[in-house]
Each structure stands twice: as C-alpha cells, then as structure tokens.
C-alpha cells in the first residue's frame, strides 16, 4: 500500500501547555516544555477517529480487549475506515513562516545537532566536532571501538543551543558547518509565560483556600507555528486532507487549541548526497531505545556506529487508558542526538530513517532521523 505524506501546520490560537509527568498540585509550578511526538499523535488520532465516528466510550472496552494496543482497539471500531488506525505521525517541529523581520526564513526548525558547538566569542561562531580516528592517549571509549568526538578549535566552547534553520540543516547534513545565523535561539521563537491561578470551589463559587498554583505556558512568537506530518494510505489522502484542513483541535493541556492547515506539499527534507568520511543519522525527534545500551539504536539492528553525540534524555510516560494508570517511564534520548557511522548507515523509510526499531514508537513518531555525512 503506497503512503502519502501530508504536511500540517499547527497554528496556536492561544498559549499552549505541555507539562512534564510530575503530579501537579497547589503551591507548585507546572513546568511546561515543547510538545512531544506522542502529544501530536494523540491529538491527530483523536481528531481523525472522532471525525470518523469512533465512540470513545466504546474505545475503553476495545482497549481492554486489545490489551492496551491503541491502534488495534481503534481498528476494531473503525470498520471501513480502519486505515485511520495505523496512521503514522511525525513532529511536531517549530516552523517559521519567514514573514517577519528577526525570525528565520520559511521552513521547519530542528533542535541543534549535539556535535555542533559554539565558540564563546562575539560572533558565536559554530564549529563541528567529528569522530577522530587517531585517538589521544588516555581515551577510554564507552563501547569498544568507539572513537572520540573531537574538535581542534582554541578557546572556550559550549554546546550550540537552539534550533537549526532548513538552510543550516541542509549544510549540516552535507557535512558542512552551518553559519551562526542559521542557529536560532529559543528567545527568537517562543517565550514562556508564567501564569498564576487559583483553584475555584465550584459549589461555593469562590476561590479555594491554599489552592494558588502557577503554570508555565508556551507562547510562540508571531510568525512562528508548529509543523508536523502524517502518513496516510494514498487512496485515502484526499479524505484525510478534508478531515484535517482548517480543523480546530485541542493540543496539549489546559484546553488550549490549534488550527490545522494542510500544506499543498509536505516540506522537502534535505537528503544530501555527496561524499564524506562516513554517514550520520541526526535524530529530529526524541528516540526511545529499548536495548541494553539505551543511548543508541539496537546494535544488532543498526551496527557500525563509531561515535555519537547524545546530549541527554527526557522521561516519557503517558496514561494507559486500558489499565487506568500511568505508562511506565521510558527515557528517550533527545532530539539533536547524532550517530556517526563509518560507512552508510541505514535506509530511509519515507522522508526519515526510523531508529527506534519498535512499532509503537515508530507510529508515534519517536526516533525519526535524517541522514547525512560527516567529514573529519
């Protein structure tokens, strides 16, 4: 079955809120972050399934039968629209429409690759670290045979934090070093708004004692929205397009909403050819790896990693609707992680390489990577 990618723009109608997994109570601040792949997948699935007539009361029973397998439960209820059960989503990423001065040119913005470093000089020039075949004395690799990620620049250096423009991404994947103007700091794209609220006693219609709380909302700058993709069986793409375009749907917490716009064409992710010293895979969404070494895709399925830059992890959980309890925490390596290969690494599936190696994470859009090359 052929698949069609649809490009979606998510235009917030207000501030947005995506909270971490920590319980939230009075006196606490619910710290928010950027939306995760499963938030996007959940929002799009819910919207499509609702539009296609799923009764969510029945969904709970179906989930029990399917042992918590959400697509399977949906499939059992969707009938002729079963295609909508197995949709795969990708993103969301920040998107600049390039319409305003001070924001990047039109295109998606992906988290800066972790091998990209910034010199602490006035220009904040960018440099790239690369696997070094001849290691200095004293190098003790995490896994046998791994090469140190190295650079030969002088001066104080820090991780290049921010987001890479599409131009910067193209340069990077082709083995080049992006210009510092292609690295956009978060302050140019969004701000955090702390809002203090008070719990209301609905019966007495007055503020409850001791129920002051604060929430940290995400406010995208003017000209900045979110971009995502959804994979649909080609023969149903027109139907999906009409269901999604101009839809207003809840996205994240606190009842905040976005308007969906289906793009004429999805974004053409760069896929540079050209030679380098090896291939690389840049994670553009967080990756959940269930093998022994949680920082990397399973070595049996994806051998040949000679070096890596993994800037950290984030805890991913969720709610198991069938069992009415939280899902076990998985620690996903952050988007921006880079895996270096001596030779070519792996094959694209659509626009992306899928690194997680398990269906649930793949469908939710975790572990999506873009291929590129590295040069020493």
């Amino acid at each position: 079955m052929t698949k069609t990618r649809l490009g979606l723009r998510l235009q917030p109608l207000d501030v947005l809120f995506f909270r971490d997994g920590r319980p939230f109570e009075a006196g606490m601040r619910a710290s928010g972050g950027l939306p995760r792949p499963q938030t996007l997948a959940g929002a799009l699935r819910s919207h499509l399934w609702r539009e296609l007539g799923i009764d969510f009361g029945e969904m709970r029973n179906a989930l029990k039968k399917s042992d918590g397998d959400v697509p399977a439960a949906a499939e059992s209820l969707l009938g002729e629209n079963a295609w909508a059960a197995g949709i795969r989503t990708a993103g969301p990423w920040l998107w600049s429409d390039g319409s305003k001065k001070g924001i990047p040119p039109e295109g998606p913005l992906v988290p800066a690759p972790a091998d990209l470093l910034s010199l602490k000089n006035e220009e904040k020039s960018l440099i790239r670290a690369a696997p070094r075949k001849k290691s200095p004395d004293g190098w003790a690799p995490a896994s046998a045979g791994m090469l140190p990620l190295w650079h030969g620049e002088q001066g104080s250096i820090e991780a290049a934090n921010g987001f890479l423009t599409s131009q910067g991404l193209e340069t990077y994947l082709a083995g080049g070093t992006p210009d510092s103007k292609d690295l956009i700091g978060e302050e140019a794209l969004y701000t955090w708004e702390d809002r203090t609220g008070v719990g209301i006693d609905a019966d007495r219609r007055r503020a409850e004692d001791h129920m002051l709380y604060s929430v940290r909302f995400l406010r995208l700058r003017e000209g900045v929205s979110l971009y995502a993709e959804i994979e649909i069986p080609s023969e149903r793409s027109d139907e999906a397009r009409s269901l999604l375009n101009r839809a207003i749907l809840p996205f994240g917490g606190e009842g905040r909403r976005v308007e969906l716009v289906v793009e004429d064409e999805p974004f053409a992710w760069p896929s540079p050819g050209g030679a380098g010293d090896g291939a690389l895979a840049l994670l553009v969404t967080p990756g959940i790896f269930l093998g022994e070494e949680r920082w990397r895709p399973d070595a049996r399925e994806l051998p040949g990693i000679v070096s890596a830059a993994v800037p950290g992890s984030e805890a991913i959980s969720g709610w198991d609707m069938a069992r009415k309890r939280p899902k076990p925490t998985r620690h996903a390596v952050r988007a921006g992680s880079v895996y270096f290969f001596e030779k070519d690494c792996c094959q694209n599936q659509g626009a992306f390489v899928r690194l997680c190696g398990h269906e649930e994470s793949d469908a939710l859009g975790y572990g999506l990577a873009l291929k590129g090359v590295w040069k020493s």
């Binding site: 009075a26 190098w139 203090t196 001791h210 949680r294 800037p311 992890s313 309890r325 899902k327 620690h331």
Partner: protein, 907 residues
C-alpha cells in the same frame, strides 16, 4: 602503597625546608634537619633522590632563569636574596600568583629557628610518635602550613623561589610529594578527572531547604567517597582540584583513619563540627596519579562512590521499612533497587603526562598541536626568554621533559577527553517493576514508591506514611507528597544515616525553612522585649515551623486542614500564646514572606585553567630579576608574554577557591542572617532575608577577589581568615564572579526559585558581560522582573535598599516607570533631569532617607545624587553595550530595591 613509598613522599614533601627563602645557601642542610626532626631516617642520598630531575622538572615552574654561577664567580645581579637589607623596597617581596600584585611581607618575629618554635616542635614531636610513615606524611601535609601560620601568618606565604616569588613554598612542597608518587612507577604520571552527575537533576529537585541541603550534602559526600581511593593510594597532595587540606570531610577521614594525636583535635570545636555539615566539595575532581594505575584507580573511584550511595540508601530503606512495617503493604518498595542503582552517572577521563611514553618538548609540541590546535603551545614568551639567556651565555641547561606550558596543555587535553567521554550522556534505565505508578512529586521522572494498582490504595499508603507517628526522628513525608526511592533517600538521609555517621543528634541539624529565613528580621526587630528564637522554641518544645508566622493563630486550635496538605501541624500549645501575641501585635509589622536565593559562580574558569588570564612574565619575576632580564637583548619584549600555567599556579587557584568556599562564604552568609546550602569549588548557593541579599553578595564578590577584609594591611588578592591568624590567598583582582538572585514568596515552589536563581546567573549576568549580578523577582501575583546590576553599581543598589528600609517612598520610581519609553529615547541629560525632579518632588522624609543612604550631606541634593548614580549606571551598561535602555533598567532596579527592603507585596 608500601611504607617505602610513603617515606619517599614525605621526604619529597620536605626536600626544601619551609624557610628556604630566608637562606638559600644552607637550605639543603636545613631540609635534612627537618626530615630528621619528623622521625624519618634519611641521609643526603635520600634527599638527593627526592630532588631527582623528574620531580624538579615537574614541580619547578620552569621559567627561564639566569645561571648565577658558583663561587668565586657568583653573579649577585642574577640572584635575589629574599632578605636583602640593601634593597629595603624589594625585601621580603612576594607576588600574587594570579594577578601578579606585589606584596611585601612584614619583618616577622618568627624568622628564627622554626624547628624550635612551639607550634612546629609540638607538631613534629607528635609526628615522630606516629606508627606509620603514611600517618606521618598525612600529619605533615595537614598541619604544617597552619603551624607555620601560628608562628606568624606570613610564613606560609614565603616563596618557593625568590626569583619568581609567585608561588609559595607550601604549594611547591605539596606538588613535590604528589609528583614523587605519580612518577614513582617510571611510566610518567597522568591526570585523572572524575565527574559525578546529575547535579542539578539531583540537588535542585527539592521541596524544602532541608531537601536542598540534603541533596547538596549527599553530592559532596559521594564526591569525597570517590576521592578516597586516590587519597589512600597516592596521598592527599595528589588532589589537584579541589584542595582537601582543612576540608571537613577529609579531616573526618583523617581522624578516623589515624586515631590519636595530632588528628584527634580535628573537628573538635563547635564551629568545626558545624562546618562538617556544609556541603563543600564539587562534583568533579582532578588528581595526579601514576600512569600505570589509571584504570585501576578509575574503577576504584567509581566503586567507592557507588558503595557510599548504596550505604546511604540502604540505611534509609532499612529504617523506613522498620518504621512502616505492619502499617503498609510490604511491597511498597518495588523498584527501589532499580532507581537507586540507575540514578548516578559516573565518568572519568585521563591524560598521561608522557603521551606515547615521550615527553621531549618537541614531541609534546607536536602531540598537543595534533590534538588541540595548531599553534597551541603557550610558551613562546618563555622560549624567547630562554633564547635571550642563551645568547647572553647565562642559560642553564634547558630541561626538556616538562617545559613551561605543558601543564596547561595537559589540563586542556584532559578537559577535552572528559568532554568526549560525556558526549554520550547518561540515559537512565527504563522503568521496570512498579513502573506503572504515578510519578514522584519531587523528582518527576521517577515513579513514586508505594503500592501499584488502584489510586485509592496509593493514597491510603501515603496517608499512613505521612502520619506524624511514622516520622523518623523529626523527619517526615508531607501529606501532599508521593516520593520515589531517590527522593526518600534525599529526605531521610540525615535522620537515617548522616546524623549517626557524623556523630550528631538528629535534632542538631537546624535548617531553617524559607518562611523562617524570610521573617528573620522580624524575630529581632518586632518583639524587642522578648525576641522569638526559633532554635530555642524547637529545643524547648520540640518543634518549629516558619509557616506559623503567616497563619491566623485562631486556626491553630482547629483540626488539621484537609484542604492544605502541606500545612505543618500547629505550634505546641505551650508557645501558642507567645507567638500569637507577637504575630497579632499592633505595634509591629507582620513578618515578611519574601526571601532571596542566590547562586554565585566564578567567571571564565576555563580561561584561567588554560593560562589565558595569567599575569605577564614581567608580573611574575621579582623586580630585580625583571630588571636583569630586561637588560638583555630581546628580554623586554619577551617579558610582555603571559606566564604559562604551572602546577603551582593551578594549586594556588585551587587553594584560593577553597579559602573562598570554606572560610569566607560561611562567615559572610552567616553575618547576613542567611542559610548557606552549598559552597565548594567556585560555586555557592544560599538563602537570605531580602534586605540582606545585596550587602551579602557585594561582600562575597569582594572576598572572591580578595578585597573584602577591610584590613588596610592586606593588599588586593589576599584576605585575613576569621580568626585573624591566617592570611588567605584569593583569586585576585583579575578574577571575577557572577551571581544570580531570585526573590520569591516562601510558598513559591522552591524548584522554581532555584531555577530562577540559576537563570539569573547564566542568562542575565553571564550572558551580559559577566562580573555582574542578575536578579529575578517572582511576585506571588505572577508579576516577574528581570534585572541586571553590574557589581560596580551594587553599592548604590544596596544603599537604595537601605533608603527604602528607612522609610523613603518609591512613588517617584513608579511615576517614572510610566514614562520610561520616552525617557529611554531622550538624551541622558533629559533622563537625569527627570530623575532629579522626581526625587526632589518627594517628601522631606524620603529625600532625607535617600540622601543619608547615598552619603549625601543635604537632603535637597538627594535628587541630584540619584541622577548622578543613574549616570554611572548608564556608563556601566554602555561598557556592556546595553546603554540604550539604561533608564528603564535603572528605574526597575529602584523598584526592586524598594521591594527587597519591604520583603512583602503591600506598600
């Protein structure tokens, strides 16, 4: 390590007598006398071995020096006599290791035979009685510098080399011992770096100051545990960073390991015991170790650290299990082991000093050029100077094995190896058994303990656990909390482990809560006749909570408030009346609910460690030597170059940071009624009443560089220790530090306040030119203020806080705030006039308070005074390229000063 190795190390430690500078010619004889006085059986051959070329090469700072020749052709102009009566202006001259600032030591009474003096003789007689060479070396290392200071505080500052008097004999002796050990196996030494994390992910996840302290203390404890294998194998001098001399945890270790004198006096005073409770070690260390033992030591450090963590966790688990047994589901601890074992990320990296077995200058240059950057060799100036000396026929034979600058390069390479090791960050284990429980309310990425299954069962479990009778020696879980294994360890570490381990009663840890810190002024000022003392109430009545001060006393008689699960139990009945009358008194204002948290951090430590900020060679040599070297052809130009970082400078930096963290920060924070959470490395974190915060930070900033003692005899770069008996080398006037200050209501989530303090430091101060104070004000109403105060303006800022505390009105600032956009755009004179007018239109009382605070004689000149301060502020911002909205920034700072003075929302 065998006794022979300890003996060799001890002889290396005394291979130069501490008074070498006072009489160079007889120093070898005196070194032997010192060695023999410590009870070591040594002769001249031993001494010669201790001075072997390797050790000398490594420990001397290897700056080019003219060969003065030997009698009868000795050239006086090529040498420096420290006690030269003929040059009174340059006699007894030392230089600051990091700024080059000169200081002339006073003629001291103690310049006699130190071996006969009571402090040294007393120490050595105890050292002789010790039954092992290891213990002797440890005693010498630990006590000798302070015994010298007892004779005269200046003695521990005598230079190792009178011609380059920028490093002390004590630094030199430490390094000699360290290199003796590291090079003993003939394979050359190596630098070993160790790092323990996550730091913020552990410490800053705290719901109370006590949790914050506990996290910070556990981290220090584990860092010290990781250092122990190095201490035991290589001796204490092997720790290049941080310095362990006088560190309370190290003192405790010495006392336990070597019972009896002289160690039994350690930590015996009240202040020293108190110091033991301060987290004072950073999460990283660097050590000098034998190259052949790097792998073993790396593994041993990691294992020692893990073992220490397991011990704490086991003690907490054991006590909780015993306390809760029979009351809760026995399966409450499912997943405990997984969380404990998977939490820490331990990393180590090493860089051999003789990479590839080679250490010739040429090869080292090539090696560093290959792995660092092409022209990385930092010693062009010293190469030029050496060439100058050669040309003049005055050069010593050039040593080739540890050329100047190589220490900095080894450190740089070590840093890059550690960065490469950390390129793949720790990814914690995915949840296993018990993974379907909700998340911990303190550490959101971990599951809470307790039963799985229905929410009601979980709620019942935590209700039982939070019951007062299930507290452990005063430590409890609040009703709103649901904690993971790691959070429980953090919460109960003191009562279940540290109190017993350190020999304290559980009640002795008197860590105030944020409400108490916020209200500190009130205790002293509000009830003058009978001040309320929280410690006294806790001692007499068994409990204290700062929350009581902000409650309606009538509510104390009611049952526990189910709507407010974080509410502490009411005060004991015996103190309710006293408290209630104080709180409700109409003669006094209510306690202030806002407090301040600061995070302070040294600037550009990487540059310091690379030697990029080191003094020039001209600022390093003794003035007489400068004159001589500059008289040679090419000498003047060479003296412009920077002094390459040497091991001794590195040691001086380590010592300066240790002095700051251990001696000065606690004293200054205490003076300003604060609670110190952590001070170690170049970092400090503390909590203060709002109106004390700026004064405290100003003092800390001054102390960091060494200009806060207020003692005119102390030139910049040095400080007097609290008891006045020690002179401490600080970072000097070329070093700077930045701080972030967060001001928040005591009910604000502490994690948010800590985040704000760190963000103020990093994003406001460091990103805007450093050497500044960033401030974030988090009002309960949701209003936020971000401010930047360069240290050069902090005195005025503090004065303004004082003015508002004395009753000045801030209405003028609020009025000006409405016009800020216009005034930003106008020329500076217009802004000045507006400020002057606004202040002068205020009431007489306000003008007087402002004038008094700013040190202006006449009230009518208050407006002009404020306008002048604004002009200065604008200049300071201009230097940072931020002058364009100086007016807005100034007015916001004035408003913030008023808020800090009030410590409350209402005006």
């Amino acid at each position: 390590m065998g006794s022979t190795e300890w003996r060799k190390m001890a002889i290396a430690f005394l291979h130069d007598p501490p008074d070498k500078a006072l009489d160079i010619r007889s120093h070898e004889r005196r070194a032997l006398e010192w060695i023999q006085a410590t009870g070591f059986d040594a002769n001249e051959t031993d001494l010669t071995q201790a001075k072997n070329e390797d050790i000398k090469a490594s420990t001397e700072d290897r700056l080019p020096l003219p060969d003065a020749g030997k009698k009868p052709n000795f050239k006086l102009e090529r040498s420096v006599s420290f006690t030269d009566e003929a040059a009174p202006n340059e006699r007894l001259l030392v230089r600051h290791p990091l700024s080059g600032q000169c200081r002339t030591l006073d003629d001291a009474d103690g310049y006699g035979d130190w071996l006969e003096s009571e402090p040294v003789d007393g120490l050595l007689s105890m050292v002789r009685e010790l039954d092992s060479d290891e213990a002797r070396l440890m005693a010498l290392w630990r006590f000798l510098p302070e015994r010298l200071a007892e004779i005269d505080p200046q003695l521990e500052h005598l230079p190792a080399d009178t011609r380059t008097p920028d490093h002390t004999i004590c630094n030199h002796l430490d390094l000699s011992a360290a290199f003796q050990m590291a090079l003993a196996d003939g394979r050359g030494g190596a630098l070993l770096a160790f790092s323990l994390g996550p730091v913020q992910g552990f410490i800053a996840q705290a719901k109370s100051l006590r949790d914050l302290w506990s996290g910070s203390y556990i981290l220090s404890w584990l860092a010290f545990a990781a250092m122990k294998p190095i201490l035991e194998r290589c001796g204490p001098a092997a720790l290049v960073f941080p310095g362990l001399r006088a560190n309370p945890l190290c003192d405790r270790w010495l006392k336990q390991r070597y019972p009896g004198p002289p160690f039994d006096d350690l930590l015996s005073g009240d202040d020293e015991r108190k110091a033991l409770l301060q987290g004072a070690l950073p999460n990283t260390f660097v050590a000098l170790v034998p190259a052949g033992e790097v792998e073993d030591l790396n593994a041993a450090c990691k294992e020692s650290c893990r073992k220490a963590w397991r011990e704490i966790a086991r003690a907490v688990h054991g006590e909780l299990h015993a306390a809760w047994q029979g009351k809760v589901d026995l399966e409450w601890d499912t997943g405990w082991e997984e969380q404990i074992e998977g939490f820490w990320d331990l990393r180590a990296a090493s860089a051999p000093l003789r990479p590839g077995g080679q250490s010739s200058k040429k090869r080292l240059q090539g090696y560093f050029g290959e792995f660092l950057w092409g022209e990385c060799w930092p010693s062009k100036a010293t190469d030029d100077l050496q060439a100058t000396l050669k040309k003049a026929g005055q050069a010593y034979r050039e040593r080739d094995d540890m050329p100047p600058g190589s220490w900095a390069m080894h450190n740089e390479l070590l840093g890059r190896l550690m960065a490469a090791t950390k390129a793949i960050r720790h990814v914690p284990p995915h949840s296993g058994a018990g993974g379907d429980r909700p998340k911990c309310t303190m550490m959101g990425s971990l599951e809470q303990m307790g039963p799985g299954g229905a929410q009601k069962q979980q709620a019942d479990f935590w209700k039982i656990v939070a019951n007062e009778e299930n507290s452990i020696r005063g430590t409890h879980v609040r009703r709103s909390e649901r904690l993971s294994a790691v959070a429980l360890v953090k919460r109960f570490a003191w009562s279940c482990f540290f109190a017993k381990e350190l020999g304290f009663e559980a009640t002795e840890l008197r860590y105030s809560d944020t409400a108490t810190v916020a209200a500190r002024k009130w205790f002293k000022e509000a009830v003058k006749e009978a001040p309320i003392d929280p410690d006294e109430i806790r001692e007499k009545h068994g409990d204290w909570s700062g929350q009581w001060l902000f409650q309606d006393p009538r509510s104390w008689d009611r049952e526990a408030d189910a709507d407010d699960p974080d509410r502490d139990p009411p005060p004991p009945k015996t103190v309710r009346k006293t408290l209630a009358s104080a709180i409700l008194s109409k003669d006094t204002e209510r306690p202030r609910p806002y407090y301040a948290v600061f995070a302070l951090d040294g600037d550009e430590m990487g540059k310091w460690l690379r030697g990029d900020k080191a003094p020039t060679l001209r600022e390093t040599y003794h003035p007489k030597m400068v004159r001589h070297l500059e008289s040679l052809e090419g000498g003047r130009a060479a003296m412009e170059g920077r002094r390459p970082l040497s091991p001794a400078q590195h040691a001086a930096m380590t010592a300066a940071l240790g002095h700051f963290a251990r001696e000065l920060v606690p004293r200054i924070v205490d003076r300003h009624q604060g609670e110190l959470v952590y001070a170690g490395g170049d970092d400090a974190l503390a909590v203060l009443p709002t109106d004390e915060a700026i004064g405290c930070l100003r003092e800390l900033r001054a102390a960091y560089s060494g200009r806060g003692a207020g003692d005119e005899r102390m030139p910049e770069g040095w400080e007097l220790a609290g008891d006045g008996r020690r002179i401490l080398t600080m970072m000097g006037d070329r070093a700077s530090a930045s701080a972030g200050l967060a001001v928040a209501h005591f009910k604000t989530d502490l994690r948010e306040v800590l985040d704000a303090a760190r963000a103020a430091e990093k994003l406001l101060a460091k990103e805007h030119g450093r050497d500044a104070l960033g401030i974030k004000v988090l009002k309960r109403s949701g209003e936020r203020m971000d401010l930047l105060c360069p240290w050069g303006f902090a005195e005025t800022f503090e004065q303004l806080v004082g003015a508002f505390a004395c009753g000045a009105s801030d209405r003028w600032a609020y009025r000006l705030r409405q016009e800020e956009e216009t005034l930003n755009a106008l020329p500076v004179d217009a802004a000045r006039s507006a400020l002057k007018r606004a202040v002068d239109h205020g009431d007489q009382e306000s003008r007087k308070a402002i004038a008094d605070a700013l040190g202006i004689e006449k009230s009518k000149e208050a407006g002009d005074g404020v306008a002048k301060r604004f002009e200065r502020f604008r200049e300071l911002l201009d230097e940072r390229g931020l002058g364009q909205d100086a007016f807005s920034r100034f007015v916001k700072l004035v408003q913030a000063a008023s808020f800090l003075a009030r410590g409350r929302d209402d005006r």
